[in-house]
Structures are given as C-alpha cells and as structure tokens.
Symmetry: C2
Subunit: 210 residues, 2 copies
Amino acid sequence: MTADCAIFGFSGDALRVLLVRRAVEPFKGVWLLPGGAMQPDETLEDTATHLLRNLVNVENVPIHQVATYSSPDRHPVRRVITTSYFALVSPEDHDPIAREYLDRVKWCPVEQLPELGFDHRLILHDAYEALKDELRQQPLAFHLLPDSFTLKEAQEVYESILGEELDRRNFRRKILAYDFLINTEQKKPGVKGGPELYRIDDAKLGQYLQ
Amino acid sequence: MTADCAIFGFSGDALRVLLVRRAVEPFKGVWLLPGGAMQPDETLEDTATHLLRNLVNVENVPIHQVATYSSPDRHPVRRVITTSYFALVSPEDHDPIAREYLDRVKWCPVEQLPELGFDHRLILHDAYEALKDELRQQPLAFHLLPDSFTLKEAQEVYESILGEELDRRNFRRKILAYDFLINTEQKKPGVKGGPELYRIDDAKLGQYLQ
DNA sequence: CCAAAAGTGTTTCGGATACACCCATGC
DNA sequence: GCATGGGTGTATCCGAAACACTTTTGG
C-alpha cells in the first residue's frame, strides 16, 4: 500500500509537477510521481505529507485525495495498491532532494511530460483534473503567491493551473468579491501602470477552503 | 484491504441503502455497509462488483469510487484500509441474502439510519454526497425505472435521491433536452391527467454516462 | 362537473462572458 | 509624449429558477 503524490508547483512561468527518477530496478531510469509505502501506524495522508516534507521541505500544505488504483498488474513485481493525492506548493521553497532509491528529481512543466512508469501517466492525469476542479470551486492557490502580490500575478497563477486565459476584468471582480484580499494601498514599483499590491487575510481565506 | 459499498436503492417511496449486520465479533450485532476483502488477483472494483452480485444479484451496474480510509484505528482488531464505492440499483431486483458472517440484511431509508459500526457513518455520508453530486451532473438514475415510465415517476426518483423537491416544469424541460427519452405515444392508464409514457434509448443514454 | 394531475410557455434572476474607456507608469 | 499595462463600469448572454394557464382524466 503506497501513497503517490502529484506535487504541483508554480514557479512564475508555468505549472510544473515534481517527478522523480528511479535508481533501482524495476523501472530503473524511469520517471515517476513520488510515492512512498504506508507505514504501520500512519495514515495514507501521513505518508503523502511525509513525501512533501522530504522532497520539498514544506509543512502544513493541504493535500487532496484523488483516487485509489488497484489493478493487480499495475506493478510488475509485486502487488501494490496506491492512493493518489495532489498538493500545490511553491518550487522556490526548497530544491527537491534526490535520496534513497532515486537518482534525479525535477520540476517538469505539465505540458512537457516524459514517459512515466507504471500507470503514473493516468494517475497524474486524474490528479491534474482534480486540481483544476478544485481550483474552480475554491481559492486554493493563494499560498503560492508572495506576501504581497498584484492581481495580475494572481491571475497568472490561475491561468497556469487551468491552462487557459482569463479575462482580466472578470477575474478581478471574481476574486475581489472574496473578503480575504486586503489592498495594501501600495503600488508595485518597476511595473508600468503602477499595479496595487494586495495581501491575504489568512483567517478569512481559511474559511473558504475545504 | 477491503472495498465497502454503499448500495443505494429506490423502491418507489424513499431512497434506501443496503445495510448488513455482523454475526461475529468484533462489532457483532452492529449494522454496517457491506464490504469484502480484496482477493489476490482482483481489483477493488472487482471486489465491489462481487458484493453487488452476492448481495442483490445484479450485474453490469456501474460503480463509482468515492474515497479511501486508512486511519490506523478505524478497525479495532487489525489494520484495515478500505476503499468505498457507491452503486444505484432497484431493490425489487432481488431480495438481499444474508450469508457467511452476516445475520441480517436490510434496505434502510437514508433518513432513518441506525448507528453504524467502524467509521461507516462517515463513509456512507461521503458516498451519499458523491451520489448526489454525480446525479446533478449526469442522468445516472434511469436504469432504476421500469421499461416505460412517466416523467412524474422519473422526477420522484430524482427527488428521493437528492432529498429535495423539484419544479415539475423545469425538471421536464431539463430531461427532455436529452435525446435519450423516447415518447411511446401511449398514456399510462389509471392515472388522472393521462400522463405520457416514455422509454429509454439505451445507446444514447450511455453517451451521457461517465 | 369537478377535483387532481399532466402538458405547455413566459418571466425573472444571477452568474459568467464580452467588451470599451480612462488613468498611471516606464521609457 | 507615447506605448504599455492597470483600474473601473456596462451590456449581453445563458442556464436556472419562479411562476400561471389550459387540457386530460378518474371519480
């Protein structure tokens, strides 16, 4: 029993997902989603949370269960049932660390995926769809932004995740309708137009999540 | 590793869910959702499908995965991870059969649930929410109806599942917008108003499912 | 005939979309 | 000063919801 995690990150340009490369057989040299075996006294959520801590060194990032995959032949050697999760983090937080049975770790743009081992292509596809569904229903991407940010930057996060362009004015109205956005009354220097900087009221944002 | 299944049935009056009562310890005499252990060469979907065949003798009923529960203490004796599914069947198809470690099986109205063992109250709650979400998005309840039926009967199925009353005219327009409903040009006798009977084009209905 | 239920069409509302103008800044 | 981007408001569209009248049938 394992937990596989699609760790999505936004780095300022494109949405990326963390991939690892196995250093041991089977599937040596093949790219995979990071995964870990569930330990005797932990939940699958614990397992996924440990992955996040070990690979990208983040704590308290919400994880979302997606689905469970149980085909008997999905792993060529032994029976492995896996439950998938997704999480959203900022890649800058920490460089991913290759360790144990992995020899490489990389942030891969979701539009330029290599071949993935096992059934991880399917798992990633399902996780990405779940991420988009969630983002359309609740504002779960604001922890990717710096302490203060412009609405343009927030919009770029949304567009990168959803993979589509959004109307600037409609996006603005939609997220300003929330009350967790606080106008700092300051303008971001060095940018034409002088965009206003906003920050998040964490307590109020939390009310919209989950 | 087990699969637990919330088997929902519509019997003409209210939405019901199939509950079983354990005949052995632990939790002897306690009501539960039916569940089964995954066998070595089957998927969890297979396990859930076998439950449906053994308990209510139906085949080819679509099942929907809901979530996986892995808390170490959810089962008092040993570690059991379970993946939940829901399915929609017609209770008239077959009387449920008590066998093996069960001494009773019943169709229980979802509004009058007894105490459930383990964490099955939570599992059932999640499954019911998933059922409602799915029904709002796709017409997955028409196999509960007889070969020919009135729109009123179809509406009652929807209302029982969703637990809310629907506007007759809006409901009518919404489902007539689909092209899988065929007017048989016959009227149902014995009912005031002389409602028209419809039947389903299975091939076209299938296009809207999944 | 009359009560009850079925068939039909219109209005309204809210959210989402599309779109145009003015203002602020960097160069 | 001018090109680029930011801030603001309005018209439109679409699906959902609310709603009233006529027709058909059983009693």
